[in-house]
Every structure is written in C-alpha cells, then in structure tokens.
C-alpha cells in the first residue's frame, strides 16, 4: 500500500467537492444579498415601498374604502418621542392623502434621525405610493425640538381586492445607523 499521497482519482474528486463547498459559500455570502435586494425591488417583498418621491395621477375610486393604520417605533429606546398624529385613516384608492407624524428630540443635544418604513401586507407595498415622505431624507433636530413630519400618499386602485387594511410602520433611527448602508 502506497502510504503517502492518495490516488489521483481521489484527489480530483476531493478537489471538485472542495470547489462545490467554496462555490456554495460564495453563493450564500456574495450572490444572495444582492439577488435578494433585486427580488425585493421587483416584487415589493421587503415591504419597503418606494424610497424616493414618485409622481402618480389621481384617479379616485370612491366605491372602495381602505383602512390605513400607522405604527411608529423608536429604535433601541433612543431619546425620541415619535408617534402618528392619527392612529388610522380610511381612504379611497386613487386619491391623494396627507398624514403627519410627530417627532420630538427628548435630549438637550442636537441629533439627526431618520425613519425606515415597512408596509404590511407585503403585497400592498407596491400599491402604497409615497408621493412625498419624511422617510426619504434624514431630519436634523436641535435640543428638545419638536416637529411634524409630513407624508403624502396614494393607494393605487390596482390594490388586490382582498386587501382591506394596510399597516404602515415607521421605525425611527439615529441617522448614523442609517448612513451605514
């Protein structure tokens, strides 16, 4: 029995299998995150909605009423108070609406914050069209400053029929978290 090196057939199969393992690592680590992002952009799966202003023509469908629920959360219990002015509103698809969220910097120092949205159910996220939203940019606050943050939106008439409630949730972050992207 030749002791030291394994036969060539073993070596080549081993090489191929190691290559498979490396390829699967690359698939997971390198390929998947951008693929997931593209997939979410196309399908709205991530529930983010549009992240820059969009222009949509109004075409109100008065026969249908959709309930919009607002949820506001502060990340990591930061020194902010952040809440919607109204907890929910009932809207007609195709019509433009305004809503505001109130944010207060509870600390004495100047801070910059930014909201990150999430829309549920995910199937609604592409149909919740933000014409203008405070979540597109960050907000600079002086110490103890309070501010109303505006949101302007249209629910697309293409919204699937079985959706009668859309939840729009914002989490308010210190902007240094947000700029890490």
């Amino acid at each position: 029995m030749a002791d030291s090196s394994p036969p060539a057939s073993n070596r080549s199969l081993t090489g191929q299998l190691i290559l498979c393992a490396v390829a699967m690592f690359a698939f997971g680590f390198v390929l998947l995150p951008p693929l997931y992002r593209v997939f979410c952009d196309i399908t709205g799966f991530g529930g983010r909605g549009n992240d820059s202003p969009m222009v949509v023509a109004e075409a109100p469908d008065l026969s249908r009423r959709i309930r919009i629920e607002f949820v506001a959360t502060v990340n990591n219990y930061g020194p902010w108070q952040f809440e919607p002015t109204v907890e929910s509103m009932t809207v007609n698809p195709g019509q433009m609406y305004y809503a505001t969220f109130n944010a207060i910097n509870l600390s004495d120092e100047a801070r910059t914050g930014q909201a990150v949205p999430s829309i549920a159910p995910v199937v609604a996220s592409q149909h919740f069209q933000k014409i203008e939203c405070f979540c597109f940019v960050s907000q600079e606050f002086t110490g103890k400053e309070s501010r109303a943050l505006p949101l302007q939106f249209i629910v697309s008439p293409d919204l699937p029929e079985y959706v009668d409630t859309i939840t729009l949730s914002y989490t308010y972050f210190e902007s240094n978290y947000v700029t890490r992207r």
Binding site: T14, M24, P33, C40, F45
Partner: protein, 522 residues
C-alpha cells in the same frame, strides 16, 4: 504494513488516521455532548416543572435553550452519525479505510476545539448566546462577549462537517469493492452519500450567513440591519435554506440505520431497496425548496405561502414510501425483538408521529396558530429524539458486538429501550397539547393553565435523562458479555459481517471479490 497495530498511549488517538479509531472518538465525543446538552435540557425542564420562576434567571434559561439546541444538533446528532459513517462505511463497501485519512483526523479534532469555545461562552461577560440556536438578527447581535466566539465555533463545526462529508463521498464513490455497483450499496451507505451531498451544499451557506452577522456587528455592513437598507428577514431565508436540509442531514442516516436493522431481525431482504434510494434522493431534493415553511408568519405573499405549503406536504410522499417499505419488510417476516430491533420499531412508529405533526405545521393557516408554540417543540423533538437518537441507539446496539467482539447485556439494553420509550413519550406528547393551547416556546414562566402538562413533561424528561445512564452501563459492561460470533446475528446481510468480531484494526487490505453478490441486500 502487515500486522501493523495501533500505536500506544494518548498519541494514538491524537495522530490516528484509522477509520475505526476516528469513528470511536466521534461516537464517544457525541455521547459526551449528548449528556452535556441533556443536562441543559434538564435545567430547562426543572424550571418549567411548575409555573413561576424557581431555579434560574430568565437570561440563563434562554442561554440554556440556545446552547441545548446548538450542542444537540451540531455536537451530538451530527458527529454521532459521522462516527457511524467512519466505522461502518469502509466495512460495508469493502474498503481498507476512508479515502482521506489525514483529513479525517482533522475533521474530528476540530470538534472538541469548536465545542470548547462554545461551552466557554457560558463563563463570559453577558453569558452564553441566548437568542435561540437560529441566531436571528437583530436579537443575536445583542449577545455579549460571546458573540464572536459563537460565530467562530459555528464556522469550525461547519468546516468539520464539510471535511467529513467530502471524505465520505470520495470513499463511497471511489473505494467500493469491485462488484459493488451503486444500486447494490447498502441503504446506510446510500443515505450517507445523499446526506454528505446535502452537507456540502448547505453548511457553506450557514457559514456565509453567520459571517454576515459578524460583519454587521463589527465591520459596519448592513446585511440584516433595516436602518442601513438591509433586511433581517433575509437572514431567516438564508438560515432556513441551510436549516431545512439540515434536518434531513440529521434524519437520513437514521433512515439508513433502520433499513439495515429491520431486514436482519425480520429475516427478509429490505423491501424495495431501489425505491428507498429514490425516495431518499427525492427527500433531499425537496428539502431545498421548502425552507420558508419555517417563517410563514414573517409576511409572505399568498402565492409564496401556497407554494411552500404544497412543496412541504409533497415530502410526505417519499417519506411515506420509506415507512411503507419498512412495514412491508416486516410483513410476513420471522421477527425477533432484540434491542436494536426494538429501537428501530419505535423509530418507525414515533418518527411517523413526528412526521404527521410536521404535515400539520405545513398547513399555513394552522401554522400561523402553531408558530413558536410548544407544538413545534413537540414536533421536532419527536423527529429528533425517537427519530435520530433512537436510530443512533439502534445502530450502537446493532454494531456494538462487531466493534467490541462481545455481546452487550440484552436485559439492560431492553430496559434502556423501554425506559427511554416510555419517558420520551411522557416528555414530548403533552407538549402537543400545550402548543395547541397556545403555550409559547423559549419562555421560562407560563400561565397556570399549562401547569399539569408541564409537570408531566418535566417528570418524563428527568426519567429520560436517567434512563440514558443504563446505556452508559451497557457500554461499560460490554467487555464482560459473551464472545460475539463473526456474523453476530442470525442472518445479517452486508460485508461488515464477513470480517471477524471485533473488527481487526485493519480490514479489507485487499478488496473482497465476488462476496458482494452473496451479501447483497436485494
């Protein structure tokens, strides 16, 4: 090379490249981990014996649930099957050793290091990981000093598994006896071949996912941080892309084990050997397209839920083929009920219960109710304890005479079986009811309405834990048993029974010729 025996002293074990030595070390290591992970389970069950907080802090309770799972999955079940593969695959295919003996030594000795690191986190500032073995961000990022050690130990376990899997595939594909073509391979070899491919496909994906956690925590990336444009749900997708094949990695070799044992004690060839091979391959393929059934509640389009629900239910078909084949093997057979057969029969029966609750969990509207309740805990413990672990016990009793040259104490073996079977059901069956009534998992305290079933489960767990000491007794006293014959059982099939008992240090130095056909399973 002739008559070259094992080296003396501790370095024999440190430097060994012998598949039997390495198999033994794997098995002893996993038994040790089984007891460590089991003690953690007993901490959990003691705390849950009655409502209220009695023994441990909630933080420590969470560390116990997390560590119990990590140790049992990566430290007990997986290495035990790799140990069996090391011992038995060369003997079953008529090879002198594994194809890559030096790498074999490495893949074992990485494990004690990995688990040394993981266990050391119990002593660190902030305690051991407590965010669940699934390591979901952002919760897992709140782990204290233990966090990088958790990631590094998972990397090491993954590297060990991948090296073991590569070794097994190369051994099986390149080193079979000359007249053993692929469909003549014993089922245990087949299921391990499929398992090894699963390991190579998914362990690197887990490594990728935990590496992303590491870079999110320390290097300013935002793979999973919503604030930075990432998505925590993406971790769940990647994790379960690994996690679902992982559950088949833990069960397929057990399928192989019972497919060896039932024919021996039914005194009939395995019914439908080839259909078993195709069924196992189907299960392996389907395991890659069902991952999202672990996360029906994260918010998924209806079409996605339907796809994953039906794909998951489809797995019941090849699994059913296997169950019915085992039953058909026994049908009309001259059965006897030695300990390995008892464990195999309990495996078939109790694993099926776990399979059924799995089909229940696959139903989307039901799963939204069952998600993260004790029903899930009952389900996966039924497939892992009376499934994988009973498969391992069956294998140990079946091949112990071949390994040691002595028959084990049959009375103690049967006692071990009956105690384990009764207590495992007492532990996990009430959890179905707890889950259906809405008791959430991973919580140290509960509403008083859940009290009685929890007390039953805790008594069962303590009984099950103590029953395992009988197994240790069997192992320690095996050398006192009667000498085993070469064939050990009345009519076993397979090349491993053509070598003496105990199996000599070196076997099949020359490949067995024309013996495979006589030993064929078909």
């Amino acid at each position: 090379m002739a008559d070259h025996g094992p080296a003396k002293g501790f370095t024999r074990w440190l430097y060994t490249t012998n598949h039997k030595d390495i198999g033994t070390m794997y098995l002893i290591f996993s038994l040790t981990m089984f007891f460590i992970g089991g003690s953690m389970a007993l901490v959990i069950r003691s705390e849950l014996m009655t409502p209220g907080l009695q023994f441990v802090h909630p933080e420590f309770f969470n560390q116990m649930t997390t560590m119990h799972a990590l140790i049992m999955v990566f430290g007990a079940v997986m290495p035990a099957f790799v140990g069996l593969a090391n011992w038995m695959i060369p003997l079953m295919i008529g090879a002198p050793d594994m194809a890559l003996p030096r790498m074999n030594n490495w893949s074992f000795w990485i494990l004690p290091v990995a688990f040394g690191i993981l266990l050391s986190t119990l002593l660190m500032d902030g305690g051991a990981p407590a965010g669940g073995w699934t390591m979901y961000p952002p919760l897992v990022l709140q782990t204290g000093d233990a966090f990088p050690f958790l990631i590094f130990s998972v990397h090491l376990m993954g590297i060990s598994s991948i090296m073991g899997a590569i070794n097994i595939i190369v051994s099986i594909l390149n080193m079979r006896a000359p007249d053993m073509w692929l469909l003549k391979m014993p089922m245990f070899v087949w299921t391990w071949l499929i398992t090894a491919y699963l390991l190579i496909a998914v362990m690197p994906v887990l490594a990728g996912a935990v590496t992303m956690l590491l870079t999110d925590q320390f290097f300013g990336t935002s793979f999973f941080l919503a604030a930075g444009g990432g998505d925590p749900v993406m971790f769940q997708h990647i994790f379960w892309f690994f996690g679902h094949p992982e559950v088949y990695i833990m069960i397929l070799p057990a399928f192989g084990v019972v497919s060896e044992i039932i024919p021996t004690f039914a005194r009939k060839p395995l019914f439908g050997h080839d259909s078993m091979v195709y069924a196992a391959s189907c299960i392996a393929f389907l395991s890659f397209i069902v991952w999202a059934h672990h996360m029906f509640t994260v918010g998924m389009p209806l079409s996605g839920q339907l796809f994953f629900m039906f794909a998951t239910m489809l797995i019941a078909v090849p699994t059913g083929v296997k169950i019915f084949n085992w039953v058909a093997t026994m049908w009309g057979g001259a059965m006897t009920f030695e300990t390995p057969m008892l464990f195999s029969l309990a495996f078939v029966f109790l694993f099926t219960i776990g399979g059924f609750s799995g089909v229940m969990l696959a139903i989307v509207p039901a799963d939204i109710q069952y998600h993260d309740t004790y029903f899930v805990v009952a389900h996966f413990h039924y497939v892992l304890v009376p499934g994988s672990i009973f498969g391992l016990f069956a294998a140990c009793y079946y091949w112990l005479p071949k390994w040691t040259g002595h028959m084990y104490n049959e009375t103690a073996g049967k006692l071990h079986f009956w105690a384990s079977t009764i207590f495992v059901n007492l532990t996990f069956f009430p959890m179905h009811f707890l889950g259906l009534a809405g008791m959430p998992r991973r919580i140290p305290d509960y509403s008083t309405q859940f009290a009685d079933f929890n007390t039953m489960a805790s008594i069962g767990a303590i009984g099950f834990g103590l029953s395992q000491l009988i197994f240790v007794y069997v192992l320690l006293t095996v050398k006192k048993g009667a000498k085993a014959t070469d064939r050990v059982w009345e009519a076993p099939r397979g090349l491993e029974w053509t070598v003496p008992s105990p199996a000599p240090y070196h076997t099949f130095d020359t490949p067995p010729v024309k013996r495979v056909t006589q030993e064929s399973f078909q």
